[in-house]
């Protein structure tokens, strides 16, 4: 098979960082012998020994002990097995990971990465398909990123590990196995910069993680309607690259934000608000959102109704154009 999948890219990024910096540690549940339930850490324990280790089953302890290690000069990269299982660590993330630099008046940096497989679309059982990004992006002190493509996953994870700020790294599990043509290593954009994945003039579709692919597919389908849709991959949810969004809207006059998380207080709400404040005179229609419903994530057979798909994005484009 040519190219590489996102899982392979993440694995390679971890391996390269472990090889280059002996302060990097990788730990979590089932990351050593098993190589992680998604195999992102496969082979790393064999290669790097006890710098890649399994912990007892306790997320708060995983993140809490990573804080202590980061204070002591290590660069822990910890894995939460699934989005829904990051919640026991919420206290550590919000009360300590996010606030340590500020509370210590800059004396303490926490160069740590919390990797979280996130999002739905894989037909899983409860608590395995959550979109918790707003909780983290809303919290001052956290950097929150999410790659949409395998090459970017590699580069973004390496930048995250090298960041002196703590990073919540959201891995779109529905994209884990998609392959990317090319070779590793590769360097993409920095944290904090959004990427125009497809230039266009009719309207701007804004996605991140799992929904970038939905936006790209909608752009292809939209060309049948004579629409030339621009697609922006946020990559970084906090910080948010508003200037790229504003430039795009100055060109297209219309924006549609697409995410799996519910609409209420989601990333779309923030983007709509910023564009309204900062690009009001460029807008020819309200910023629209295509999102998951504002309900608990549904069972596997119903998730297709819940998730934002191409048709809903195209409907939103039509609505935007009707203003």
């Amino acid at each position: 098979m040519s190219g590489f999948s996102m899982v392979e890219a993440l694995n390679r990024a971890l391996a390269d960082e472990l090889a280059e910096d002996d302060k990097v540690l990788v730990f979590g549940q089932d990351v050593a012998a098993l190589g992680g339930v998604f195999r992102v850490t496969e082979g790393l324990h064999d290669r790097f020994g006890d710098r890649v280790f399994d912990t007892p089953l306790a997320e708060s302890a995983i993140v809490g002990t990573a804080i202590g290690m980061a204070m002591y000069g290590y660069r822990p990269v910890v894995e939460m097995q699934f989005d829904g299982f990051s919640y026991p660590a919420f206290e550590q993330i919000v009360s300590h990971v996010a606030k340590m630099r500020n509370r210590s008046r800059g004396h303490i940096s926490l160069p740590m990465v919390i990797r979280i497989p996130f999002g739905g679309g894989i037909g899983s059982v409860e608590h395995h398909s959550e979109s918790p990004e707003t909780y983290f992006a809303h919290t001052a002190g956290l950097t929150v990123v999410s790659p949409a493509a395998a090459d970017d996953a590699y580069s973004l994870l390496r930048s995250s590990i090298r960041s002196d700020d703590p990073v919540v790294f959201l891995e779109p599990k529905s994209r884990y196995w998609h392959r990317h043509e090319g070779t590793l290593p590769v360097t993409t954009l920095n944290i904090g910069v959004a990427q125009v994945r497809r230039p266009g003039t009719t309207a701007t579709l804004i996605g991140y993680g799992p929904t970038v692919e939905v936006c790209l597919a909608a752009a292809v389908a939209g060309s049948d309607e004579g629409w030339d849709l621009e697609v922006i991959d946020l990559r970084s949810l906090s910080p948010l690259d508003t200037s790229t969004l504003i430039s795009s809207v100055e060109k297209t006059g219309r924006a549609i934000v697409v995410h799996e998380a519910g609409s209420f207080l989601g990333m779309g709400a923030e983007i709509a608000s910023q564009l309204t404040e900062k690009a009001f005179y460029s807008l020819q229609a309200p910023v629209l959102r295509v999102t998951g419903f504002d309900i608990p994530y549904p069972s596997a057979q119903l998730e297709a109704y819940h998730l934002p798909g191409v048709d809903r994005v195209l409907d939103a484009v039509a609505r935007s154009l009707s203003y």
Binding site: L34, D54, F85, V125, F293, A300
Partner: protein, 370 residues
């Protein structure tokens, strides 16, 4: 020689109960030094045998339905039938169960139909049965979190003057979570009628017990918190029943919680999404297969002359018939009308959800017309 482990300690003394691991049925794979008396009649033993065979058959059905794509995933309880069925059989109707995702046998013992129990795995809904009717709470995938619910319900029942025990089923891995510790501590401090039934099946996905705790036993957790801990051979249905009965009696009597560590083994992979050959040896699995809980009971019944060929056959046939019926019930499960997604989120209606429901309705109509 019969000793009642529970009575050898005064209430609240918080000692782990010796004699070590309680066993009642001879173990054909190793010499057993001391067997305690169990509390089951021959008819009951036979009944438990039938249920174990039937539920194993059900587990095999679920495994094959998963392979056929009819279930999204399956978490087998194969090998843990004695632990689950022996403990469930000791419960009184009014007692509550707080299960994890692996307590299939307990759920069936509580009278939940296979279909109602499997919505989650079939992907049709997140739940289905009425937890109040069966006193079987929603299963909890977030590890150990439900142990707190069990404790809270027991605190409430005690406050209300109701005579019931609440049982939290957790795994060996789960004991590492803060919530497990907190649940046990609350239960002990409030002398709540809770039994923490810990199925120590030796693995938490790929993490062995030895990497989970430095303590020689999980039962030792209890005396540190001031309450009773007991160990039982979890592949010995009669011993599990006995220890669980004692634990329930202790809790019911107002003496506070009990931790029961049932030592057993997860024969299958963690779930059908897992591959256990990546982290454990075939020899280890084989060793535990030889300690199969059903074979153990069969052996005993045989030695009593109770297991005729007729009974074996009729047990097998009854299990097959139930499995066929279960198969039909499971395949008929339906997710129903997708607009139900917007129900049950809040007690009342919310404009935002009404709006989203109308949008989905319009889409469904449009699709129908296409």
């Amino acid at each position: 020689m019969v000793d009642n482990p529970i009575e050898t300690n005064s209430p609240g003394s918080g000692t782990r109960i010796d004699p070590g691991i309680v066993r009642c049925l001879p173990d054909q794979t190793r010499p057993t030094s001391r067997l305690l008396e169990h509390k089951l009649t021959s008819d009951e033993l036979l009944h438990l045998y039938q249920r174990m065979v039937e539920i194993r058959r059900f587990d095999e059905l679920a495994m094959s339905l998963q392979r056929q794509g009819q279930l999204g995933v399956w978490a087998s309880c194969l090998g843990q039938e004695a632990a689950q069925i022996g403990s469930a059989y000791a419960l009184a109707d009014q007692d509550w169960v707080f299960p994890s995702y692996r307590e299939t046998a307990v759920g069936l013992m509580r009278g939940i139909t296979p279909g109602d129990l499997l919505h989650q795995y079939r992907g049709t809904w997140l739940g289905g049965y009425d937890p109040y009717k069966h006193r079987f709470a929603m299963n909890s995938i977030p590890i150990a979190t439900h142990a707190l619910h069990a404790t809270g319900l027991a605190m409430a029942a005690k406050r209300a003057g109701d005579n019931l025990v609440s049982v939290a089923y957790i795994g060996d891995g789960a004991t590492s979570e803060g919530d497990a510790h907190e649940a046990m501590n609350f239960a002990a401090v409030f002398a709540a009628p809770v039994v923490f039934f810990v199925q120590n099946n030796h693995w938490a996905i790929s993490v062995p017990l030895s990497a989970q705790t430095a303590s020689p036993t999980l039962a030792d957790r209890a005396p540190a918190l001031g309450f009773r801990g007991m160990m039982v051979d979890g592949n010995d249905v009669a011993a599990v029943h006995r220890v669980m009965s004692d634990a329930l009696e202790h809790a019911r009597g107002g003496h506070g919680p009990v931790l029961v560590e049932a030592i057993t083994y997860r024969i299958e992979s963690h779930t059908t999404a897992d591959d256990h050959t990546r982290y454990r040896t075939a020899a280890e699995v084989e060793e535990w297969r030889e300690r199969d809980p059903i074979a153990r009971l069969e052996h005993h019944l045989d030695s009593l002359g109770m297991l005729t060929d007729d009974i074996r056959r009729s047990t097998r046939e009854a299990a097959d018939a139930k499995a066929s019926a279960a198969r039909i019930e499971i395949l008929q499960l339906s997710a129903g009308d997708p607009t139900e997604l917007f129900q049950h989120v809040y007690h009342g209606e919310r404009p935002l959800l009404q709006e989203q429901r109308e949008m989905l309705r319009a889409e469904l109509r449009a699709w129908e017309e296409m």
